[in-house]
Amino acid sequence: MKLREEPDKSLGKAKKLFAELYETNLTKVYRYIYYRVGDVTVAEDLTSAVFEKAFTKFDSYRSDKASFSTWLFSITRHTVIDHYRKARHVSAIALNPHSSGGSGIDEAVKWEELQKLLFCLSQLSELEQEIISLKFGSGLPNREIAELKQLSESNVGTILYRAIRKLRDTFLEGEKNE
């Protein structure tokens, strides 16, 4: 294999690139999945799956066709969709704070806030959930979300705007009732 013929120095550079690639994208992918599945363990499993797939399919990535993150996120989305296909009986968001307390956010208050958010998120439409997850989970620009969702950028903006309004209203409503 070519790998063996490469001088170590050059391999080191490639490894550095790999590390960068991994660092920049891991959190984004993980957060998106977490927002979609609401469970740390599942999110970790699916995140691993996404990266394994990405490197298995790395041959098919064309850097001139799409940015790496767009490409990676299309894999991520399909992975989540497949997850739900396989587990149809599982409700869209499995709220299970106990299974994940230790590995996510430590601070109890933040954790509670996040759980509330996930619950309110589950009240939104599928499309809204996904766009919010891409935005808040992964911080993707609207342009990239538009590309992934095959919508126009201004559509994404409007959907996001409406969705956050709804989300806030249910969120604050819940707080009032507490």
Binding site: L21, D59, S67, N142, R143, E147
Partner: protein, 752 residues
Amino acid sequence: MSREKERAEKFAKILDRILAGEKVDLSKYPSDLRGLAKFAERLTASQIRPDNSFKNQLKKRLLARLEKEEFGQEQGFWERLKRIGHKPVWQALAATVVLILLLGGAVWGFGVFKPEEDTFQQADLGLKKFVSAKEFKDYLVEASALADVSSRANVESMRRLAAPRALEEQAGVSEPEGALPGRISETTVQVKGVDEPDIVKTDGKEVYFSASPIWKILQPQIEESQPSIEGRMISPPQEVPPVETEAKTSIIKAFPPQALALDSKIDKTGDLLLHQDMLVVFSGQEIGGYNVSNPKSPEKEWNIKLEETTSMVASRLYKDKIYIVTQTSINLTEPSPIKILTLNDVPLNIGYKEIYHPTVIVPVDSTFSVLVVDPTSGATEKKTSFIGSAGNSVVYMSENAIYVTYSYYKSPIEFIPAFLKEDARDLAPDWLIEKVEKLESLDISKQAKVVEFQNLWNRYLNSLNEKDRVRVEGEFSRRMSDYHRKHMRDLEKTGVVKVGLEGILVKATGSVPGYPLNQFALDEYKGYLRIATTVGERGAIGREMLIPLGSDQSANDVYVLDKDLNIRGSIKDLGLTERIFSARFIEDKGYLVTFREIDPLYVLNLSDPEKPKLEGELKIPGYSSYLQPITKDKILGIGKEGSRVKASLFDVSNPNNPKELAKYIFEESWSDVLETHRAFLLDEKHEIFFLPGSKAGYIVSYKNDKLELKKAVEGLSVRRAIFLDDYLYIIGDGQITVLDEKEWGKINELRF
């Protein structure tokens, strides 16, 4: 643009800044946006992060597998990774600057530009007014069907980030009165003598400053925020003490600098135009005229309210008149008369007989109006209207005419059937093609057809196994890209309407492929109009297209149009795969900065129009989003390199060898100059320029071809600077600092 869309757009911008960890000053926004933004901040504060041990274990596992070559790469994983490694996947952004020199006569030698090579059909140049209300309505019904997928507002907002710049005018105004300074700076504008609205104006005595809704970015205050727990949380942004709780326009006595004092405040805020004693404030949907002859007690003389369906596109001040361009959404049920605004509660309407339309039907969802307004009374003296499509309008005003552009593009549904049949027959099953054909003939909107096609396509994809799905998707996308590249000049166009200043009559209409970046992409010289456009950028059609297109679609063209807006010459395919970041035409030369990811700088010599040729190439990192001519041979570019603001000084005296003489990188991620040329100030006498950053205002000398920081004025957020005589006034929210331009010492300071 609908109110909601406008709000959504604004919100999207705020949100991106919040998510980037920036500290956004929310006090300037309406309460609904503020509320949403606060909620968004709260959400980001409770972001989750992957557990560190999970992160490290996964990394180890992946690396181990890669090293054992378990991922079965044909080519070798590391090999491929290295090959894409230098690309900007990891934000290794660099720039391309294309300087096109339309050297002597190049532009005017139309005969040799071979306009017959233009493949697109020029949308008709014929122009008529409507003769009956029914004709108007019928036209609209047909035209609005064309327009429904063509809103480009989002693209424009992106483009606004990249505004180029203008010639500074600073002829010494020698007033007889002793109290007036000998030199008075003016707002940086595109065309000398045609004033543009901005948040700061001065008449030499007073400074008028509006804490306007231009976006201010405050640095994320990381060191002051609460300690994060193992870096897992972004703590909620701190409140920044608001400089002005209510946005107001301040009138400040400014000259001589020792007399610096606040005169009064006006309760409205926005862009300003100043004509003699009248200060005009463009405040959202309202325009107010204030008599400021007594600066201590300004009096409101008139008030214009734009109708809800009307929005401001642009305004200018030229030879004692204010020119206002508005855009009004068309009400299909009751199209006529079009209600534009009220002046002191008296409505100004436009009947169908006053509206121009092209003789063929182009996508239409808006009426544009050009109004000539008397600054003293607010009265509309002349007006004209024409129809076009909303979303992405650029207004350029020369001394002779106002040019209004609007962009539109073909809906994918108009070419998908042809594409499927011609180029993708083997990818789509018969039932899909049949359905698409049926879809074509349905009497429903194009948007609905696109959605329906999307459903069909997804249904088909979902019926495939993963391997086939990936193959079909990839192949479809690839061929669609090819198709798009082949036809891109037919798919996206910009209509241009020329309104002559004399009589305010529509003189001509025309169209060019692609879209212009901003006002600087248009320029009139010796009766000819030059337009620089970006064609086929995937943002435009790709986004409407169901499959993401490749990013290597775009090209940049320059078109030369005669006085009737017929295309007479063109230069095509500049900066392939890139898009225009800034343009500037100066007499018979043109400068174009394009940018995407790789970074050759081309210099094209077009002095022989038959043989335009590449004369020089220079690689520079970063880009300029704004070009300022300094002298005949020198151009200053303001832009970014990496994430920081950069200024570059180019020597363009030898087109064979354009040089970057000097560059200066600011410790700043943002300057208002990146958004508007009006934030820039050039003082040729002292050979300095000023630009506001988010931490300070910077004064940079360009003397002796060096860029050298003379002074950075820190403090409250700096917005603009002006000069009066040899004093430089640095104006920030709630504070003015006056510097002596010879020694750069502080002369006076005012908090207001």
